[in-house]
């Protein structure tokens, strides 16, 4: 990439954000943990992390003003990546909480079936060959059968946004994408080399979509 990508990692006081920051820096991005609206708006791309309870995360997002910042950032068309509960928050609602989600993606987050251990706390293997569409989404280039680290008890229901699943007592949503909004249920920042590759895919794609400085956005496209 010709210029350093400025990534705002939305910091609303939840969990371990340093690992996400370090992992983004490792693939060449300038990643900053921030709750500052001006910094977020000025960033080229944003990451919405999240761990723990869906309702607690949404409440924290609202109380810090970051729910609105995230929604408006995503609305600009700039690259936006949700991770783990940060992916779940993009949806309309979750069985974990009465608190509504951000609603950037349609659908509901559902509890994993009681025939499997909850949380799924393990590495699991991505698959996307069975999904409709031609091959891997740009986020998943080179990652067919890649192992990623999951920690979750809830997952997004099946839908057209799903770009990868894992087998956990049946297909479980592992990654989703719609236009500029992409997200993973797993933790790429904790998924060793395969996670590094995924973040590199995202940063490379985001860098290719950075504002060129003449007021237009280069190479902006619908990827799904």
């Amino acid at each position: 990439m010709s210029q350093t990508l400025n990534v705002a990692v939305l910091d609303y006081g939840i969990g371990n954000l340093r690992s996400a920051q370090k992992a983004l820096q490792r693939v060449g991005a300038n990643a900053e943990l921030t709750a500052d609206r001006a910094v977020i708006d000025a960033a080229d791309a944003a990451v919405l992390p999240g761990v723990g309870n869906f309702g607690a995360c949404m409440q924290a997002l609202h109380s810090t003003g970051l729910a609105r910042a995230a929604t408006e950032f995503a609305g600009t068309g700039k690259p936006f990546l949700g991770i783990c509960v940060g992916m779940q928050l993009l949806f309309e609602k979750s069985e974990e909480s009465d608190e509504p989600g951000l609603g950037l993606l349609p659908g509901t987050i559902r509890l994993l079936p009681d025939t499997v251990k909850r949380p799924q706390m393990q590495w699991n293997k991505l698959c996307f060959a069975h999904l409709p569409g031609a091959g891997a989404h740009p986020l998943l280039q080179g990652l067919d059968d890649a192992w990623m680290y999951f920690v979750h008890s809830y997952s997004a229901e099946a839908g057209p946004e799903v770009i990868a699943t894992v087998d956990y007592g049946g297909p479980v949503t592992a990654a989703v994408a719609r236009n500029n909004v992409w997200a993973t249920q797993f933790h790429p920042e904790k998924s060793a080399e395969s996670g590094r590759r995924l973040l590199e895919n995202w940063v490379d794609w985001a860098a290719a979509n950075v504002d060129t400085g003449d007021g237009s956005r280069s190479n902006q496209k619908d990827t799904k």
């Binding site: 340093r18 690992s19 992992a23 490792r26 761990v51 251990k117 706390m121 920042e189 904790k190």
Partner: protein
């Protein structure tokens, strides 16, 4: 609890004892510049294909806990697999400092026995997934399941039944149980299968089997017979007797699914 075992991808977890930010207990790798450096060791296990790491902080005084936070910071700079820190965590604030530094989970043991609400407090603040409860058990005639919770490194009996305790902490919000047999720890005779099985059948959260691994051939029984989801070992890896790949090959040969090393 009848869960679908076929879905488990067994995790192999090396455990490192840390005192004042330094790894102790005879780590013996060739090519290691500094056998006491937790970051260097963690990076080696990451490269070998370890699925997670556990650091057990045995620092004697609470004044020195900052060194453990610094260690978590340093590990998170260079290691991109999940890691847990246990030992000496007595409050939500202790947990917060480690999680903010880059740890993915914290493990509580004696402090939870002394004050079980700590488990609920950590789970409520950070989520069940980062709240591991470490349970040190020994066979005992004093409790109904035949296994009793011990604290102070296995020296002090509590009168608490292991199975009842595990059910209790899972109700409080524990997302994972690190179950160590104090009878087997250091013996190299293999896991305590009876205790592991009693616990894994009582709750529906992941169980890490620990204590007694003598060779990589001891690992699979913790899962196939004990019903654990992950296996933890220290000396077989630290002394260079076996690699993570050896451990995974042994698990694979036993018909279990692992992430290839």
């Amino acid at each position: 609890m009848s869960v679908n075992r076929a879905t488990t991808v067994v995790r192999v977890i090396p455990c490192l004892d840390v005192d004042n930010g330094r790894v102790v207990k005879g780590v013996n790798f060739v090519d290691l510049r500094d056998a006491g450096d937790p970051v260097e060791l963690a990076a080696i296990y990451d490269q070998q294909g370890a699925d997670e790491l556990v650091f057990l902080d045995i620092t004697a005084t609470s004044d020195d806990r900052q060194t453990t936070v610094d260690m978590a910071t340093a590990v998170a700079e260079q290691v991109f697999i999940p890691f847990t820190i246990g030992g000496g965590i007595r409050s939500v604030e202790d947990a917060r400092r480690l999680l903010r530094a880059g740890a993915d989970k914290v493990s509580v043991n004696s402090a939870a026995v002394a004050r079980p609400e700590l488990v609920a407090e950590i789970a409520a603040e950070f989520g069940n997934q980062c709240c591991v409860v470490a349970v040190d058990g020994r066979s005992s005639k004093a409790t109904p399941s035949g296994f009793e919770v011990f604290v102070k490194g296995g020296r002090e009996a509590t009168g608490i039944d292991v199975v009842e305790w595990v059910k209790n902490v899972v109700d409080l919000g524990a997302g994972e149980i690190l179950l160590t047999s104090m009878d087997r720890d250091g013996t190299r005779e293999g896991f305590d299968i009876a205790m592991t099985s009693a616990v894994s059948h009582a709750v529906n959260v992941p169980i890490i089997a620990s204590g007694g691994v003598g060779t990589v051939n001891d690992l699979a029984a913790g899962v196939t017979d004990g019903g654990a989801d992950a296996v933890l070992a220290a000396s077989i890896f630290h002394f260079g007797e076996s690699t993570i790949a050896d451990a995974k090959a042994a698990l694979s040969e036993a018909g279990l699914t692992v992430r290839p090393a």
